[in-house]
């Protein structure tokens, strides 16, 4: 046990010494990890924001339900309760005939005279405006509503909703797909660099072998080195991403867009662990594979 701890300490010391003495390698490896993850991060930011935008557009969608003229107050309250009980419904707003007229007048603005005749015998129906959790629920909810009594007409902007959902899904699948590809490429680039770095030390590796070092005695410091390089590189990329994104969101006003940026903090919490893990894993595993190769020779 004591031996084990001594060994682990030794491996760490070795890897840190090696890092300190192979500056070209260190700079190149950290740079590659950071740059690769930075690109991945840019893409992630885009994907997060597109998803966010699609969701916030989705949230503004609502179902409008017009009630038949004969529906009484009691009946109306029953309908309201029934609608509220449908899964996915978050809010039901009642609009009375009077409210509807008010709204129409507001909409007409200067031309509100047109609606003046309505005050005697209001032709506008009473209605509900219904909000749902996610746009995906709209068609199911409106189908449930259509089965209720006393409903004159339902407007759920079906065409738009379906298009939006399809579009969001495409964007989501495409962005997962691309992010997968980018992650693989990042892994490739990083392990490529580490392979070259180890390659430049192949002579050292073979000497250790001939001195009687076991494979793991040689491998461990390299693996730890790889993990450290990966971690340093990912920390660098996280920092650059976070600060530049923070700067961007604080200084670029996109008032014409329909949505807000995902906040820099939530970006950070999203990438922090993932990137650290990815950097460490690829670094360690890349080194492991690279050393292994020169051990067989």
């Amino acid at each position: 046990m004591d031996m084990k701890i001594k060994r682990i300490k030794y491996y760490f010391l070795e890897s840190i010494k090696n890092l300190a003495r192979n500056r070209v390698m260190v700079v190149a490896s950290i740079g590659t990890v950071a740059a690769s993850l930075f690109v991945l991060g840019i893409f992630l930011i885009l994907a997060l924001n597109v998803n966010n935008a699609a969701e916030s557009i989705g949230k503004t969608l609502e179902i409008k339900v017009y009630l038949k003229d004969e529906v009484t107050t009691l009946k109306r309250i029953a309908i309201e309760r029934d609608i509220k009980n449908i899964k996915g419904v978050t809010e039901v707003i009642y609009i009375s005939k009077e409210q509807a007229l008010e709204d129409l007048k507001k909409k007409l603005g200067e031309n509100k005279a047109i609606a003046e005749g309505f005050e005697m015998d209001n032709p506008l129906p009473q209605s509900f405006v219904i909000k749902v959790e996610k746009p995906e629920f709209i068609s199911k909810v409106s189908y449930e509503i259509s089965k209720l009594d006393g409903i004159e007409k339902i407007y759920d902007g079906k065409g738009i909703v379906e298009k939006l959902i399809k579009f969001t899904n495409i964007v989501r699948v495409a962005s997962y797909f691309l992010m997968g590809i980018l992650a693989i490429i990042s892994a490739f680039l990083i392990s490529n660099t580490i392979k070259l770095a180890v390659y430049s030390r192949r002579r050292e590796i073979s000497i250790m072998k001939y001195l009687g070092a076991t494979d793991w005695f040689i491998k461990w410091p390299f693996v730890i080195e790889g993990v450290l390089l990966g971690l340093l590189g990912s920390i660098l990329s996280i920092m650059v991403l976070f600060f530049s994104y923070q700067y961007l969101t604080n200084n670029v006003s996109l008032n014409l867009l329909l949505f807000n940026f995902v906040s820099a903090q939530s970006l950070l919490s999203f990438i922090l662990q993932k990137f650290l893990l990815m950097g460490a894993l690829i670094g360690g595993f890349g080194s492991y594979l690279a050393v292994k190769r020169y051990l067989v020779l």
Binding site: K6, R203, Y210, G212
Partner: protein, 228 residues
């Protein structure tokens, strides 16, 4: 201790570096391996270390047939041998001290032992004040002496030296030879490849002469024997 049975080594398709070598070196012997350039001396050593595999034959060291040694056991086998390589093979990114300490680390020596023994070894080869230098900052002879110190580090039962005095002046060479002789007297087997006629002639040890991959002479208390 060392037994070669019909050992041959062919490089590439047809370069016969060693041809049908039969040999027996007993524990505690001091053997000079001599022969002209390209005779197969380094090949002999590489075979002993399992750096290369023989094309034919068997090599038995300390009762183990090393040609059949499992991959996992090779490191442990190698640790039992101290080697001075012809091309030194110092680790270029480690200092003199670290190069020797590393060989001890490999063999699981304790930090205390390492701290005690490395300075002793450096003193033996006269490099006390160079411990913090890197190999490229050393002279040729100094590098060679580091390689010698490293070979002695783990008190191996077998020491193999490939041309250990090629870059040393006569004084230093003799100091090294006396050191090896001392170590040999305490029971360590020593196999030494050398071109230094005067050393071989004066040491009066067993001499095995190779030429074109064949043993042409094997004498107890022999001489270098290549007249010029």
């Amino acid at each position: 201790m060392i037994e070669f049975k019909n050992v041959s080594k062919v490089y590439g398709n047809n370069h016969i570096a060693l041809s049908n070598i039969n040999l027996n070196i007993k524990k505690g012997e001091f053997v000079f391996l001599v022969g002209p350039s390209g005779a197969g001396k380094t090949t002999f050593i590489k075979l002993l270390l399992k750096e290369i595999e023989p094309t034919n034959g068997e090599i038995i060291v300390n009762g183990t047939n090393i040609t059949q040694l499992k991959r996992k056991k090779i490191p442990y086998y190698r640790r039992s041998i101290g080697v001075v390589f012809q091309d030194f093979r110092l680790l270029s990114d480690k200092t003199v001290y670290e190069n020797i300490a590393f060989a001890m680390e490999i063999a699981d020596a304790s930090s205390k032992d390492i701290k005690r023994r490395v300075p002793q070894l450096l003193a033996l080869v006269g490099l006390i004040n160079k411990e913090k230098l890197y190999p490229h900052q050393l002279s040729g002879g100094e590098q060679q002496r580091v390689a010698i110190a490293r070979a002695l580090a783990n008190n191996p039962s077998l020491i193999i030296c490939d041309e250990p005095t090629g870059n040393l002046d006569p004084d230093n060479s003799w100091a090294i030879m006396e050191l090896l002789n001392e170590i040999n007297k305490s029971g360590t087997t020593i196999v030494m490849v050398t071109h230094a006629k005067d050393i071989v002639d004066r040491m009066k040890k067993r001499v095995i002469a190779l030429e074109k991959g064949v043993i042409i002479r094997d004498e107890q208390r022999g001489v270098y024997g290549y007249e010029n």
